[in-house]
């Protein structure tokens, strides 16, 4: 499959903004905190008055991506941009709030897994192909592969792959169900701007195996591959780039035959 080029990245996490904020050792940097939270992004309070924090994180990540590309929203607006969203449980806080009756009719639509990408699509006028995958890191890797397929088929000219995870509102639940919390849970919203690129990309998956770099970045679930790709841009070289991730006993891996980045990080 023809490889997509990575034109820009947006990364907002409990560590801060951009790849430079990510520590070398998550456990040490967390200093005992189980969850690294992202504050509600300070976006237009009137326009986003009903929006939930996870939706605003998604919007903020795309703003960071556009800033990284030095482009305005008009560069991605319209039907030629695909939006592919992945999450493991970004819907969990809204579901919980609704079950516990903290949200009324106004908030019910925000319980859908589609709420985050909907807010992003509305904010940036993204009206192209639209898919939402649920799962951990493999869902995001598949979303990138799916974006590559859409670009290759000329079903779109740009693709935004977005992943969001939030943990704070359900921290008690995660504490109960996580088997070995060796690293902190790191709330994250991350995205890539993909265009048609050069070379090829290979998507593989298999049962078992391991992938990702949780020891460094913490547990980001579906956001992990995007954070890893943002970090990989900081290193030099022209060789292949590979990223892998696991969820529910499955490992997925993407490998670009050549370095996919169109730009260097603006902070590098």
């Amino acid at each position: 499959m023809r490889a997509p080029a990575i034109r820009a990245v947006g990364l907002l996490s409990g560590w801060g903004e951009g790849a430079a904020s990510v520590p070398l050792d998550a456990k040490a940097a967390a200093a005992g905190r189980a969850v690294l939270e992202v504050e509600r992004p300070a976006l237009d309070p009137e326009r986003f008055r009903r929006s939930r924090r996870e939706c605003l994180m998604g919007v903020a990540a795309v703003h960071l991506m556009l800033e990284d590309a030095q482009q305005g929203p008009e560069a991605v607006a319209g039907e030629r941009t695909a939006l592919l969203f992945a999450t493991t449980a970004a819907y969990a806080p809204s579901n919980r709030a609704f079950i516990e009756s903290r949200g009324g009719s106004t908030y019910f639509p925000y319980t859908a897994a589609a709420a985050v990408p909907a807010e992003v699509a509305i904010a940036f006028g993204l009206t192209g192909p639209y898919e939402i995958l649920i799962g951990g890191a493999p869902a995001t890797l598949r979303a990138i592969a799916r974006a590559a397929a859409l670009l290759e088929a000329h079903a779109c000219d740009h693709a935004i792959v977005l992943a969001v995870e939030v943990f704070a509102e359900c921290a008690d639940v995660f504490a109960r169900v996580r088997r070995a919390p060796r690293v902190p849970l790191v709330e994250t919203a991350a995205c890539l701007w993909l265009d048609r690129g050069h070379g090829t990309i290979i998507f593989e998956r298999r049962r078992g195996g391991t992938g990702g770099d949780r020891a460094r970045i913490g547990e980001m679930l579906s956001c992990e591959p995007l954070a890893t790709l943002a970090l990989a841009r900081e290193t030099g070289g022209e060789g292949p780039v590979a990223v892998a991730g696991t969820w529910r006993g499955e490992t997925a891996r993407l490998e670009w035959s050549a370095r996919p980045y169109r730009t260097r990080s603006r902070v590098a």
Partner: protein, 378 residues
């Protein structure tokens, strides 16, 4: 498949043709405090399945019931595919949310089942699939997205067979949500009717077995020629009043299928019976189908058992296949007086004898999710 009007393909088809009504008062959870307490509820899962192998989650059990019927239809249980090459792609709007309700009510061990991809993985285990197990959640378009992604797995050689489809269950969470939005009708569901006043929710699971053309064998029901999706980018819950998103999705599906709107023989519509949806969908269909829009037969199943959410689009796709196989298009239950604002050839009253070759199925969901499928009958 498993639906309120039939728990196997043949019963479902007979029920559609005879106008069976799957709407009833909901009995499985309390509804007395809600404005509307009726919907398309499956009173009892009737298939003979060893439930010890399936999690105690209604969503997983609906899926497994549908898979059991699929295996019967395919004539092989387990499916005669190398497990490593068998994939599962499932669409849902709600996933295991009812398990979240139960967990928060005092059964914390149920939390893992509340994740939206949990029921799909339970199905994967039941089928013995060791290929990809994928969950998509484009709200009420999920069942179409799943079929499109399943076809992609075959095209890319990632699997040799894909069990694809959608499901959702009726639970208090979703009924309370739609009730609070005042989207539910106290009357009957009347798609495209002048007196339509809203939708009712239903529960179902529907699956298809996708194979590459060369490996499909003689039991093929049809071919998925194209799948398209598009975002409205308009409102978190309401559809774009001009229907531009669903129009783009339809055009994308037709482009992928390499056919023109004027070639479509039948439309299996979303037709929720909300005042807004049906007018928008009809207008978009008229633009896409062109001059033939007034003579292409249209059906909506929502009157028969409500809006099955994540299962709806797969059921609508299956209807296209069954209409092509049997040469009949069921009537739209609940439609008595066509709304002039929905100026389509909605099949009304009695089934119509017609054998569509090329069908279009449309889906719209919360969050501006739109999807369309183009299906060719065998």
């Amino acid at each position: 498949m498993v639906t309120p009007i039939g728990q196997d393909l043949d019963t479902f088809w007979s029920a559609l043709l005879t106008g069976a009504d799957g709407i009833s008062i909901i009995e499985r959870f309390p509804v007395k405090d809600l404005r509307v307490g009726q919907g398309g509820e499956i009173k009892k899962l009737t298939r003979a399945i060893d439930w010890r192998r399936v999690p105690d989650s209604r969503a997983a059990r609906l899926l497994v019931s549908a898979a059991d019927d699929l295996c019967v239809q395919a004539g092989e249980r387990p499916l005669g595919v190398d497990p490593e090459r068998l994939a599962v792609v499932i669409g849902t709007a709600l996933g295991g949310v009812e398990e979240g309700e139960r967990a928060l009510a005092g059964s914390p061990r149920r939390f893992p089942h509340a994740l939206y991809d949990a029921p799909g993985h339970a199905l994967g285990r039941w089928l013995g699939a060791r290929g990809p197990v994928i969950t998509v959640s484009t709200a009420c378009a999920s069942g179409a997205t799943a079929l499109g992604l399943g076809a992609e797995l075959l095209r890319r050689g990632e699997a040799d067979a894909v069990v694809a489809g959608g499901y959702d269950i009726l639970c208090r969470f979703v009924l309370r949500g739609f009730d609070s939005l005042r989207s539910l009708t106290r009357e009957r569901v009347r798609p495209f009717d002048r007196r339509r006043s809203g939708l009712l929710l239903g529960e179902a699971a529907a699956l298809v077995l996708l194979r590459r053309e060369a490996e499909a064998g003689g039991k093929r029901l049809g071919t998925l020629l194209g799948c398209g999706s598009a975002s409205d980018a308009f409102h978190i819950a309401a559809p774009d009043p001009e229907g531009r998103g669903i129009e783009r999705a339809m055009r994308a599906a037709l482009t992928e299928a390499e056919v023109d709107g004027t070639e479509v023989d039948f439309v299996s519509a979303h037709g929720t019976a909300t005042p807004l949806n049906d007018t928008i969908e009809a207008a978009a269909l008229r633009r896409v189908l062109g001059p033939r829009a007034s003579v292409v037969p249209v059906n909506s199943m929502k009157g028969a058992f409500g809006h099955a959410m994540g299962a709806a689009a797969t059921l609508e796709a299956i209807l296209c296949l069954l209409a092509g196989r049997h040469g009949q298009i069921p009537a739209t239950l609940g439609l008595e007086e066509l709304d002039p604002a929905c100026d389509l050839d909605c099949v009304q009253g009695v089934p119509r004898a017609a054998r569509p070759r090329l069908s279009l199925s449309t889906s719209l969901g919360f969050g501006g999710c739109n999807a369309a499928l183009v299906i060719e009958s065998a």
